[in-house]
Structure formats: structure tokens, C-alpha cells
Amino acid sequence: MGCNLLVHVALFAMENSSLQVEEITVRFGGLVALDRVSATFKEREVHGVIGPNGAGKTTLFNVVSGFVKADSGKLAFFGEEVTSHRPEKLSKYGVARTLQGLGLFARMSVLENVMIGLTSTGKTKGFAGMLGFGRPVKEERIFREHALSKLNELSLGQYVDRMPPSLPYAIQKKVALARALVLEPRFLMLDEPASGLSNDEMDELGDLILKLSEKMGIVLVEHHMDLVMRVCNVITVLDFGRVIAEGTPDEIRSNPQVTEAYLGEEVNTN
């Protein structure tokens, strides 16, 4: 493992086609949530981040997406070092993220939910939105077309007018995905996309992820190992805020440290 880290540091050259985190440390009060974590997420690759509950996976996502400020360490998007960035800027960098659970807007239609994904490209400013002609109207039409085509692409066309809570969970998950994808991001960060899905649905999700990876880089936090092992090119394993392993699914599968972290030690009952 130590070896792995060293290799990493050596390779940390500003690659302009990747998302990089280097030596990121985050503390919450006394608790060290992330301890000098480094990783490079490459384009057209599916990169899994796994680890037991509380290992720091979501914190890592939060650092990359700007919700949590790292106490130390570096963050670079496509070769550009990001010193202080905010979640609002993420889409400008071409990075989209889904949230644990759903993160859908419960009282907005499916179509609107997806249109929100495009909102950062909008040019209508404040009061101009009150006008019923010109740019705002044109912009709305374009947004609508884009969102509809993305929804159709994901076979969600029949749900455009529905409110998310009235839909099956798997469909809602897909809507959330559609919202992340509608801007055609260069990177997609998926936070537990499979939770709550059935086996068949999970298979379908796997196919989709593989298809998407032809166009973009994907970072995947997931508990369902079937899925992770099937779709990932690279896997980073976190435990207690530290990277304990990184490698291909096969390497991870045969790593005793990983098994230990997941299955725990046996208890001596005597």
C-alpha cells in the first residue's frame, strides 16, 4: 500500500484530461474524515471508490464537488488547479454529480428536474424572465428540447409531466441521472446509484454506465460489489479515511486488506 502511494505522488503531474485529488485531508472536529487521500480519475474510465460505511467516500465526493473544503491538499480539474471552488461552479468545469438517495426536486415535474440540469448555461437574467418574448422564451424552448431528448434517450419520455414522488424508485433514480447527463459532462460522479434498485435494474444500470464511459469519465461510489466489479476499470478502497488499496477489480478482489476491512476480524468469544 505504501508503495502504491509513492507511485501516486510521482505520477501527480497536471494531466489535462483528468480529475485529480492529491494528499487531501479533511477533519471534522477531532475526527479525521480523509487522511492524505490521493487519486486520479481519468476520462473514459469508470473509477470505483469503495469502503465500509464511514470510510470517507462521500466526504471525498464532497471535497471534489466543493461542499467541503479540504484542510490541506490539492484538487485539479483537467490540469487546472482549483484553489477554492464552490458547488455552483462544478457544472462549469464539466463535472456533474448525483446525490445519495435521489436529490430530485420533489415538487417539480420530471421535465423540469432535467431542465434544471441545463440552467447553468442559461443567459436570461433576473427581470428579463418576466418578459414573455425574446430570449427567455427561445431559451426555454431549447432547454425543453434538450431535456426531452435526454429523457427520450433514457426511455423516460412517458414520465415528463409526472412529479418524481409518484414514480417508481428506479425511474426516479434514472431521472436523477438524466439531470446529471443533460449537460453532456466530461465527468460524472455517481453517489450510490444502485441503492434501492432490484437485480435487473442494477444490471441495466451497469450497461448504462459502461455505455456512458465511452464518452466521459465516471467516478462511482457504490456498495453493491457485483456492480462495482463489473463496471470499474480502477477501484480505490478507503477505510477510516485512508486509501488502503487501489487497482483493478481483480487486484482488489485478491487483496487481503480489503477483505479484512469489509468482513472484519473474527471475535474471540472466549
Partner: protein, 234 residues
């Protein structure tokens, strides 16, 4: 003794439990294993009345408890130790313990608290501190200790090893076994940390997507390749 028959429940739009049946005998521990989202926590929440069951029966020592209110189920001698921060953080350790038996009239609270401090020595010196000052392991101890205050017959534990160092986990597991044997408790132990759970459990079930996929003797499950498959995916 806890008997669950064909229990089903939904969490919002998700069907979280599908006809789950299992049994925990007196002085036995049954481990419930499974990945995140498999329905383990929902199972416990349904048993303790926080989630309404859509179907099925649950009985504790012969009393039918399904779809009773959580407070009534607790008063039937079922103690549920919820996942993670199940302590009242704003209250002191001692107050948390007192809360455990607050509805029970015939409990000698003082000696009971003393007994809990003996079980979990780290708690005693911090008796008057607010619970949020405790570490994760100590909180878990407090939550279990508090559950024991009301002298329950059935204990429902949700991931007691969550976020704990291995040594702490193994201590808690060992203690659980001891309590079970000494007090004649029926314990339903939900765990992700499969090895440590199986090492103390008598029986085990594995849940996957709300269904029981494996139900067997703990020792057998330990060596079952199905477990590896359903649980780790390899």
C-alpha cells in the same frame, strides 16, 4: 423469543421487505447480514413499530406486536438500539441511562446504572458529560447499556460495529454473547461486519433486496460461498 412470519414493509416507493420470516430463540443470537439497502435496518424498524408493516406477523414471547406503536412495543420488552447516533446527544450519559428505564416502575435504577457501568467501564467517569462528547465506541456502549436498563427480553441491534475500531467491535460482540447467555436475551443482530457478527451468533440470515436469501446456522453461513457472493460480489 421472537417469531417473525412473512413480514413485508415498504419504505416510500421502495418495497423494502418481502415476506421475511425468521425466529430467534431465548438466549440465542441471530445475525442479519446483507449489503446496504438490503432491508436490514427496515426489518428492525418494522419490528419496533417505526415502519408500518404491510403484511405479516411478529410475536414476542407470545405477544403479537406487529403494527403496535413503538412505545407499546418497547413496553413489551423489546429494546431497539438504532444505528449510529442513537443516543440523545444533548443529555448526559447518566440521563441517557435513566431514560432507558423511564417507563418502568419496578426497576432499581441506581443499581442498574451501576451494573451498566460495570459492563462498560469507560462510561462511569463521564457520567455527567453530555453524550455528544463520547467517541463512537462509547456511544455504542451507552446505547446498548441504555437498552439494557429496562430489562428487555428481546434486543434488536443495528450495526453496533459501525465506525468502530476492530478491537472495540470484538469487545462489544463478546459482551453481547455474555449478556445473551447470562440474561437469557433473544438478540437480533444486524451487521455489515459479517465475520465478527457470525463469530458470536447462533444463527444467521442474509437479506438481499428485502428477501431472505440464506438462513442457516451461523457457523455454516460463515463457510458458505453464497455469503461471499451475495455480500461481496466475488
Amino acid at each position: 423469543m421472537l417469531v417473525i412470519e412473512k413480514l413485508s414493509a415498504s419504505y416510500g416507493p421502495v418495497k423494502a421487505l418481502k415476506e421475511v420470516s425468521l425466529k430467534v430463540d431465548r438466549a440465542k443470537i441471530t445475525a442479519v447480514l446483507g449489503a446496504n439497502g438490503a432491508g436490514k435496518t427496515t426489518l428492525l424498524r418494522t419490528l419496533s413499530g417505526l415502519v408500518k408493516a404491510t403484511n405479516g406477523n411478529v410475536s414476542v414471547d407470545g405477544n403479537e406486536i406487529v403494527n403496535k406503536s413503538p412505545e407499546d412495543i418497547a413496553r413489551c420488552g423489546v429494546a431497539h438500539v438504532p444505528e449510529g447516533r442513537g443516543v440523545v446527544q444533548e443529555m448526559t450519559i447518566e440521563e441517557n441511562l435513566r431514560l432507558g428505564a423511564v417507563w418502568k416502575r419496578d426497576v432499581d435504577v441506581k443499581s442498574k446504572i451501576k451494573w451498566v457501568y460495570e459492563l462498560f467501564p469507560p462510561l462511569e467517569p463521564r457520567a455527567q458529560k453530555a453524550a455528544f462528547t463520547l467517541s463512537g465506541g462509547e456511544r455504542q456502549m451507552l446505547a446498548i447499556g441504555r437498552a439494557l436498563m429496562a430489562e428487555p427480553r428481546t434486543l434488536l441491534l443495528d450495526e453496533p460495529s459501525l465506525g468502530l475500531a476492530p478491537l472495540v467491535t470484538s469487545n462489544i460482540m463478546a459482551l453481547l454473547r455474555r449478556l445473551c447467555d447470562e440474561q437469557g436475551l433473544s438478540v437480533l443482530l444486524v451487521e455489515q461486519n459479517a465475520r465478527s457478527a457470525l463469530s458470536v451468533a447462533d444463527d444467521a440470515v442474509v437479506l438481499s433486496l428485502g428477501e431472505v436469501v440464506v438462513a442457516d446456522d451461523a457457523k455454516k453461513v460463515m463457510s458458505d460461498s453464497n455469503l461471499r457472493h451475495h455480500y461481496l460480489g466475488f
